[in-house]
């Protein structure tokens, strides 16, 4: 009997903690809600080795989520919000690197490499 009570208590504690941690973001417009959740899954948590702010509950991620929420409600575009965050927390914060400058290497690098390999492959076959 005691064990059962204890187990119930432990389960209660284990299952109830996430409820305290989760901040609730309310939206009247479902489109804004969709944009908010897609944005926070594309912004990297600056304190984590790898993870989005959506998956993180460290204070700075919470601050960024609150700011993104505020900006979405204010009517900022996705691009404006990402620029706002990356201006403060660096390009590192964006999980989808912008299509510009030194990032071209990141986007095209694998294809260039593949093309080179194919060229070599075909030259070799001809020889």
């Amino acid at each position: 009997m005691i064990i059962k009570k204890l187990l119930t208590f432990v389960l209660f504690i284990l299952l109830s903690t996430p409820a305290f941690n989760q901040m609730v973001y309310e939206f009247e417009d479902p489109l804004q809600e969709k944009r908010f959740y897609s944005l926070i899954s594309e912004i990297r948590c600056p304190k984590c080795t790898s993870g989005s702010i959506a998956s993180s509950d460290v204070p700075v991620s919470r601050d960024i989520k609150n700011k993104v929420y505020e900006l979405v409600l204010d009517g900022s575009t996705d691009k404006e919000i990402k620029t706002y965050v990356s201006e403060r927390f660096g390009d590192f914060s964006d999980y989808r690197p912008a299509f510009e400058g030194s990032n071209y290497l990141l986007w095209f690098g694998p294809f260039i490499f593949l093309a080179l390999m194919l060229i070599i492959f075909f030259i070799k076959r001809r020889v």
Partner: protein, 173 residues
């Protein structure tokens, strides 16, 4: 043709290897600290004594150190900051998500290496600066952020990150 091919087969992996080695061997601390030149954000906050902070207080060469009384690592780097302040390095504190009572008590207990500390209980200015937690330090020259160190400040980081930037700034002026 086969010469070219043999040459490529040897050369390509070497190029790729050097390329990735270079990326992997970059010291992350130093990479993070290389801020693009950017202006210090506008702010209206008081110091820990309740006096408004003047914007011209960030002129000249200043180190801005983000700290809080709840931050354990801040206590670890505190002796080093005290040493810097004794060498006439001007350090300004940014008291982050703290209460002024606790912060002032902390300074009284452990000593105060700061010219003054900006009181930022909600972390507004810290957010604008891209602070991810305490402690962090910024090198500010004439209202512009030139360097950024995340985590504990020590002699090695000071010598390799901030000191060269200070010397460069002094040469430039």
């Amino acid at each position: 043709m086969s010469h070219l091919l043999r040459f490529l087969i040897v050369l390509l992996p070497i190029v790729v290897l050097i390329f990735f080695a270079k990326i992997l061997l970059i010291d992350e601390e130093i990479q993070l600290s290389n801020y693009d030149l950017k202006n210090f954000p506008e702010f209206q906050l008081n110091d820990l004594n309740g006096n408004p902070v003047q914007s011209d207080s960030l002129k000249g060469i200043k180190v801005l150190n983000v700290w809080a009384s709840w931050c354990i690592t801040c206590l670890v780097e505190h002796p080093f900051l005290t040493k810097l302040s004794e060498q006439n390095i001007q350090i300004i504190g940014l008291n982050y998500k703290d209460s002024d009572l606790k912060a002032n008590a902390w300074l009284k207990k452990h000593g105060n290496p700061y010219l003054f500390s900006i009181y930022d209980p909600r972390g507004d200015l810290a957010f604008e600066l891209g602070v991810t937690g305490a402690p962090e330090s910024y090198l500010i020259v004439n209202n512009q952020v030139l360097g950024h160190i995340q985590g504990e400040m020590d002699q090695r980081k000071w010598d390799t990150i901030f000191l060269p930037l200070i010397q460069k700034a002094k040469q430039g002026s």
